[in-house]
Subunit: 485 residues, 4 copies
Amino acid sequence: MPVKRGNAARVRTKALASDYTVSLHYDRRLYREDIAGSIAHARMLGRQGIISGDESKAIVGGLEKIRAEIESGKFLWRPELEDIHMNIEARLFDLIGDTAGKLHTARSRNDQVATDTRLYARARAEDTMRSLRGLQGTLLDCAEKNPSTLLPGYTHLQRAQPVLLAHHLLAYFEMFDRDARRFESARAAADVMPLGSGALAGLPYSIDRESVARELGFSAIASNSMDAVSDRDFLLDWLSAAAIAMMHVSRLAEEIVLWSSEEFGFVQLSDEYTTGSSIMPQKRNPDFAELARGKTGRVYGNLMAALTTLKGLPMTYNRDLQEDKERLFDTVDTLLPTLEITAGMLSGARFNEGRMRDAARRSYVLATDLADYLVRKGMPFREAHGVVADLTRTAMNRGKYLHDLSLADYRRASGLFAKDVLDINLEASIAARDTIGGTSPRRVADALKAARTRLKNARPREGGGLGAGDRSSTPASPPSGGEGG
Amino acid sequence: MPVKRGNAARVRTKALASDYTVSLHYDRRLYREDIAGSIAHARMLGRQGIISGDESKAIVGGLEKIRAEIESGKFLWRPELEDIHMNIEARLFDLIGDTAGKLHTARSRNDQVATDTRLYARARAEDTMRSLRGLQGTLLDCAEKNPSTLLPGYTHLQRAQPVLLAHHLLAYFEMFDRDARRFESARAAADVMPLGSGALAGLPYSIDRESVARELGFSAIASNSMDAVSDRDFLLDWLSAAAIAMMHVSRLAEEIVLWSSEEFGFVQLSDEYTTGSSIMPQKRNPDFAELARGKTGRVYGNLMAALTTLKGLPMTYNRDLQEDKERLFDTVDTLLPTLEITAGMLSGARFNEGRMRDAARRSYVLATDLADYLVRKGMPFREAHGVVADLTRTAMNRGKYLHDLSLADYRRASGLFAKDVLDINLEASIAARDTIGGTSPRRVADALKAARTRLKNARPREGGGLGAGDRSSTPASPPSGGEGG
Amino acid sequence: MPVKRGNAARVRTKALASDYTVSLHYDRRLYREDIAGSIAHARMLGRQGIISGDESKAIVGGLEKIRAEIESGKFLWRPELEDIHMNIEARLFDLIGDTAGKLHTARSRNDQVATDTRLYARARAEDTMRSLRGLQGTLLDCAEKNPSTLLPGYTHLQRAQPVLLAHHLLAYFEMFDRDARRFESARAAADVMPLGSGALAGLPYSIDRESVARELGFSAIASNSMDAVSDRDFLLDWLSAAAIAMMHVSRLAEEIVLWSSEEFGFVQLSDEYTTGSSIMPQKRNPDFAELARGKTGRVYGNLMAALTTLKGLPMTYNRDLQEDKERLFDTVDTLLPTLEITAGMLSGARFNEGRMRDAARRSYVLATDLADYLVRKGMPFREAHGVVADLTRTAMNRGKYLHDLSLADYRRASGLFAKDVLDINLEASIAARDTIGGTSPRRVADALKAARTRLKNARPREGGGLGAGDRSSTPASPPSGGEGG
Amino acid sequence: MPVKRGNAARVRTKALASDYTVSLHYDRRLYREDIAGSIAHARMLGRQGIISGDESKAIVGGLEKIRAEIESGKFLWRPELEDIHMNIEARLFDLIGDTAGKLHTARSRNDQVATDTRLYARARAEDTMRSLRGLQGTLLDCAEKNPSTLLPGYTHLQRAQPVLLAHHLLAYFEMFDRDARRFESARAAADVMPLGSGALAGLPYSIDRESVARELGFSAIASNSMDAVSDRDFLLDWLSAAAIAMMHVSRLAEEIVLWSSEEFGFVQLSDEYTTGSSIMPQKRNPDFAELARGKTGRVYGNLMAALTTLKGLPMTYNRDLQEDKERLFDTVDTLLPTLEITAGMLSGARFNEGRMRDAARRSYVLATDLADYLVRKGMPFREAHGVVADLTRTAMNRGKYLHDLSLADYRRASGLFAKDVLDINLEASIAARDTIGGTSPRRVADALKAARTRLKNARPREGGGLGAGDRSSTPASPPSGGEGG
């Protein structure tokens, strides 16, 4: 029996040259979006009298049956039909006969596929925001569990000034916070409905786009049909948000790798997140952190790929655009597990307070504090620096650290040093940095509290009824009421 | 005389190994941002009593003098001082003596340079928004000047359905509209003040960050000092917004190149925007469009460069970050002229209405309309498609277009065809697509009007007092009152 | 029963945190390489007396059985064992008991996996060379079938000078020739054996690397063990060769899309390589060309991904490197079908000689020839250009082409024009460009002949006994005897 | 006075729309290549009688004078003439009058600019090879100066097995060796002469391309004129070779940063290659290594930029190609100093033998050796691993390293341990890895010697008479006699 097709279907009069154009192996993951979009469309056609109420019902019923078949694993996928759309279409003909063809009234493959992809991108942006919020929560947990742990803050990978571990972890909280906002924007970018644009020029039917948008939970309707079928900006927004998020992950992963080394010894990852070798049971290779860092390349590559594909394409739809989905899917499949792994890895990590403090103590990270001390006593900046530089040099040459010096040593360097110079220690240094955003315990406690509040207030967009582990959306959620910035 | 330095300055005890680390040749363009930041900082130090009022005044006065020197071309740049900051600093010592050193109280090079770059990125985002708005205006002008011009809409570079030129141009309006919003986000991302974060840990002085932010027009203050000195997300937001905008430009440029070809002949560019050869005066090579398209690569490359540089950097400041500025500057220097050129090129372009209409007429772009006609008469979709396919094939074989067929021809294909089938023409086809976002004259007129309004309402952020052609910001603008994005 | 492992195996003492580290779904395609490498290793261990002859035979027998199981589809893949190596290893224990463990004597996972990947990359480079040679052959076929077809050569997509279609096609022959040489280099880069490097430092056994290399057909042996286990240059060579080849494909694809447009009408693709729509049977969308062009992005992205992943990795093996294989596999899976599709598409393409000639005739592409005519008659260059520019302008204003002008017209422009100016036509123009590399029929015929010879002499490296459609190598081919430049 | 132009010159009838198309600021660095190409061309025109001998001499004389003017700084650059070619051309008219116009006989801007760029790329490839060879030499120097220094070899940044520092450094020698060969290929790719291809179709003059190629030192002549004017593969070869070389640099730089940290303490950079702060004189920030690592992004970006620009360009020359040169120049300006800096940095580095040995000692890097010991005594692999794992765990729990265990401890674990187990130490472990490519002193000494020989034999291509610090080529070198692999 020949495959049945509606008006938007592509006709292949001869046997396929090859499976070069087949996309079923990846686009079948869009089945829920595709069916949801078709149901909303069919209902609207019925409401508008473009097809009869019975036809509309038959189509909706058929599509629901197909969805059930797919979800129960009973659907027979036919690669020779090339893509998810043709598979569902052909099955609909089997189920309800020629009425199936009416589903394609006032719709084209071009606006259909753009709608599916946007529904998917929107749902996955929501998932990503949830994962990011989860990771942020883990960072706060770690910070709260280690309130007074201190370590050297580094510049150039050189010990520079002591900081609280909680402060260090909050830096990552900020990064992932920006990421979550970036995905909020990516979600908003996807949240515009192309359906109703036809092949490129609009449609000669009295369709009702608003009601379809409402049913699919879209906040906005594409306002130019030519743009609507060829616009993939929402994908680029997604991919560049993902690239930046992976960059943040790579920085954290780099630190985990460094801190797991014998040289640093700042952190011990749990067994689940390390691998050893059969012969060196003590080995704790931070493979998960390395893989997360390595996968950054892949996500950057996906962004570059999509940008390249879109470069220089004339209006409107060109088949090059078929390449869009795999880049998104691969990015989703990389980013989401990476965020989860990162949270899990942090969650089970044991921070070695002793090693951290030791690293701070056995260093000259208090030099700045000594200079600030002299400045507060009235010494000009440059002169203070010179004095401290001399002191440090002297200490080094004697194989000592600054805290090993006696008051006499200090006073030999400058008469402005008084007994209270001996009070300058790691804790004091940290406490002194009591500015907004600074590392003092008071500021960090405030920052932690504020972070908790921000996290609580971060509107958790519910994709609605997602099955566990299921990466498909249920686009039947109510309209979100605007982009929300 | 040895160079004088403040506390954050980098000491070079020996002669420079080379000019590898020198950045003066590019970072001198930050002079206004650097001086504005220093002035705001010095004023605050005075207000807080960290330095005396007289010292504060001396510093501010010196800095204002330096700014004047630079702007009048009298400043002596010294490459051996490596960067803009050391150049200004050294000159300040010359002008006001040792008080100059006090400017570096409660500030580090790390938070200073991040602040400068953000001020610059913010101002350039504003410039870009203005250029984008200008280009959008030009598109509307072109559309309004050609209200009834029609041409074939293309898919796969094949003529598909007739559309209004105005509709086609409005597709680009939408693209650049998204770009402008993206730059609004990039602006907001830059609009967070790192100053007051110190080297990485905050500062042991009772500084007042809010007042500095107010003076510099920042809407927000970085809330974690470690993040603040190492965060370059605002740059990535800028660069990815630029990459996407260039992608849009490349699509438009591609169409201009195509339309300028003898084969299409849809557009004639003005002499200013073409080049010829001495021997072929009729030649109108669209060099500007080609260059704009070609420069897309450069902007993509800058994004990839920045992403790569940031990958895997541990906390906090690492010298790798010095690479950030040139990627931004090169992108600014590419994107802004490209947007202006594109607007200019469109502005002087003459659209060849005859060639466009001819291309639409000499085609089968009305086939869809014929099928829709039959469907409206009650024929099932698939059957209607078959009838029209046969009609088209027949016409082609007879060397005719569909509009050459007689009523008898039509009725031979299907008895449902009546006399009104002869009314199906380009205009009717266009008029029929009267859905939201469709190409009907009514919808396009509405869309044009709406676009004008949107453009008018697009808040033109004024960078404040920028000299003509000057790419530096005046960061003294009042606080913008929120991201608004 | 617990999984058995040899010395290089990674121990996982707890349940997997997730399937984040699992690679079986993609690395199982390396089974032939992995087994071939293990067999060669086991034989060598036996020969050297590191294990007994019986043990060696048992291992080799077991591995051959496993290969047969895999190839007959009977092998039970176990994802919980993570990768191809562990799957084969565990099965070997099942089959031959504890002797299986001896296979891992004097070998580590690090040198094993690098060896597998190199064998695979080498074989796929050979496949790619074959595909490129095939595509070059198709180009020559097309050129030979259309020996006298002429068309305008374009610069800036403007008609510039007439050329032979065969000459145009030979330009692509040259591009793919460079690609083939680039893959020859990529092959040579892969053709260096890491096996015998151990985990990173070499091995404390008297192994015989030369004999293993001979058996696996490697021309060279890695000369530094630390480099050997962390070097992925051969992969970058592969990926950048692929990126450049796809760039060439994208140019050809762009031209096919242009030439398939109604505006150009230079080529008609066969039905297999176009798609239509159910309603517009005349439509011949060049989807395959568009997809080929679009997939360029993907291959560029893979290169960028691999470069990013490798950036900044310290010595020696880091788990980030696991990301290498998928980038290669995806590139192989994209490039090879794209080359085949491109050849097929060209093979069935019908070039429209009439449209091409018409495009050349209805233009001013002979202007240069007129100027050259005057120069040869002694007129200085600049003056000749001026004369022809005037002539062209005059013709244009009268709605004529240059070949429409009379001798009188010519002589009015310059007395140097004689009757033979009327002999300047497309054929004459083409014939006149009789320089090396020029478009004259003689030169093109020579170039075609030379190209055929070059193609014939291009050493077809036989991967040896590859099954049809099988992308795995048989590395048992004899040593290739040098890189061959 | 109006600017004089030859036949290939682009005519601009109106004032420039902007300086968008101006390239003089960067392409003036091609002056030597441009003049050398013009001189060779003019001489050939004279020899072939296309212009007279006197004309030829006048042109050559004029061009030599211009070159002298440029090199003595007396040349007046005129940006309004847009590019280097027009500047030289206009000056030639000034100097020798209308004969200047004859230089453009039988040449077009398209083949001229491609020739210039190839000459430049070829010369810079030679410079790069020299720099790479220099860096390799420095690595050998370092290795030879530290023949017995040992350190832990790392996998996953975990100490794995002891190696010689010389062995570690030789790994980089291998990387840069591959880079040098890659640049040899890039050189060969550039070493093909496009001159004589005309605008795109060849030339209607009896030119002699071979003699021009000989004079310019080209080994080959482009064999298809259309390919010749639009081919930029040689540039991509250059840029991808550069990207891979920078990747290697980034790995070395990462290790230098790590090793410079207090935690590792393996290396102390010289003052020239570090920066400190005014207050922490002991600080040795590895800024040069960080910058080198950071600049990797820039070079990757340039490759991506060029690939993107070339994607999808139809035949033949398109103005997009103008973007090629800056990507090359920026890459040259980044890569060459980076290689020099890296060599300088290594050269002055002091390796801390004590810290390295300590890191190896205070670890369990000998576990593999213990297992190999047992295997040699006949214990099956897996069992040996189990025994050592238990030993290691026991030692760890007792706060000891393996070398702290007594013979009794060992024998408790297995009766196969005999007194000679106590001989297993770092030196013995290293000595035992005596396979080709292994880290044993004997193998490393051999490898060093072989490396010296390879380096000596690496044919130093002399660009010929390059002034110090001058990045321009003298293309008058004799033909190189083949690619040489």
